[in-house]
Subunit: 175 residues, 2 copies
DNA sequence: CAAAACAGACCAACTAGTCGGTCTAATAGG
DNA sequence: CCTATTAGACCGACTAGTTGGTCTGTTTTG
């Protein structure tokens, strides 16, 4: 059995199946991420600040829960349907928070009017989710470095050029 | 055995081990991607055009080789070291082409002078690589839609604002 | 007909999961 | 207050099924 810090018997006393463990592992970090994103949503008025806060917290999740996230992405393909739907639900909620923020920013004119919300959202999810493949604690870049750079890149990509030049959000952008 | 379209004997006649199959699968699409990226590198002078061409071809790989890519990412964690180094080598080559293009763009002044090449490169790799998780042929967005939007987002993120407003690359940007 | 391509019986190692049991610690009864 | 009862945590031998891989033999092809 995988290096679970207990015996077979002990393990199956706590979990019905291996899938249940995997579900719990996923739920641990997705619940955290979801809660943070929801808070960021409520705390900020402007879509720009909202998006910044969401990204920031999202990136941080990979610092806190990297082991959880790694085993989840390794094993989730073999997961049975029952748990798959439960997991998909929370992941969709998270995705929707991002999509909504992008949509609001576009509506309110802070973001570019030609922004393709769906693909942009997937691009953001991709660039952040992929960090689990390369980020490791104690490397050259701290997690805050990374999140600042990601925010800068994303905001440059989505902000209306006037919003950038206005200097309104200059503390969120580099340079 | 997995749903290989042949018998055990047939399979092991063509491959020494299962790992070798996985290596060949990976090599198929990474070699294609590498070749395309190298060509894009040679064909274009400006870093902007270069980056655009690289991204475009890179995204296309996911349309052509999605099955290959999916099984590779599912199984590669269990791969033994021998093949792992071979695979890493080609992946690093590909990564370096992207990093070099970013670096050149920065040096030549087309890209922002405050660009963090390493993290930006990883962000690009992430947003494109992640497409294998959600893209499927026949969906609402064609692969060319996606690659155009990705290029637009990335260029807005990396280009010096004067390079954008100059209109020099307006055919690569949306709107 | 020789070599390559293939089939499938077979094997050893491993997997998820079960089951009977022990150990510990809390609670109840006398 | 001490002993009996009991519940939950935990163990590890065992089982049924799967996996990667081998081997012997048969078919196909040049």
């Amino acid at each position: 059995m995988e290096d679970v810090g207990t015996s077979k018997g002990g393990f199956y006393h706590h979990f019905k199946t291996k899938d249940e463990l995997l579900y719990v592992i996923h739920d641990t970090f997705i619940s955290y991420a979801l809660e943070k994103a929801a808070k960021a949503n409520d705390m900020h008025e402007s879509p720009t600040k909202k998006l910044q806060a969401i990204i920031h917290d999202f990136v941080k999740v990979f610092d806190i829960y990297k082991p959880h996230i790694s085993v989840f992405y390794q094993e989730n393909i073999y997961l049975n349907e029952k748990y798959e739907v439960l997991i998909k639900k929370k992941r969709d909620q998270f995705k929707n928070i991002i999509m909504k923020a992008l949509y609001e920013g576009k509506e309110q004119g802070e973001f570019r009017s030609d922004l393709q919300v769906d693909i942009t959202g997937m691009a953001i999810l991709g660039m952040v989710n992929w960090t689990y493949k390369w980020y490791h604690q104690g490397g050259f870049r701290t997690i805050d470095d990374i999140s600042n750079i990601f925010v800068d890149l994303i905001l440059h990509a989505v902000l209306e050029s006037e919003t950038i030049t206005s200097g309104k959000y200059k503390e969120l952008l580099m340079k």
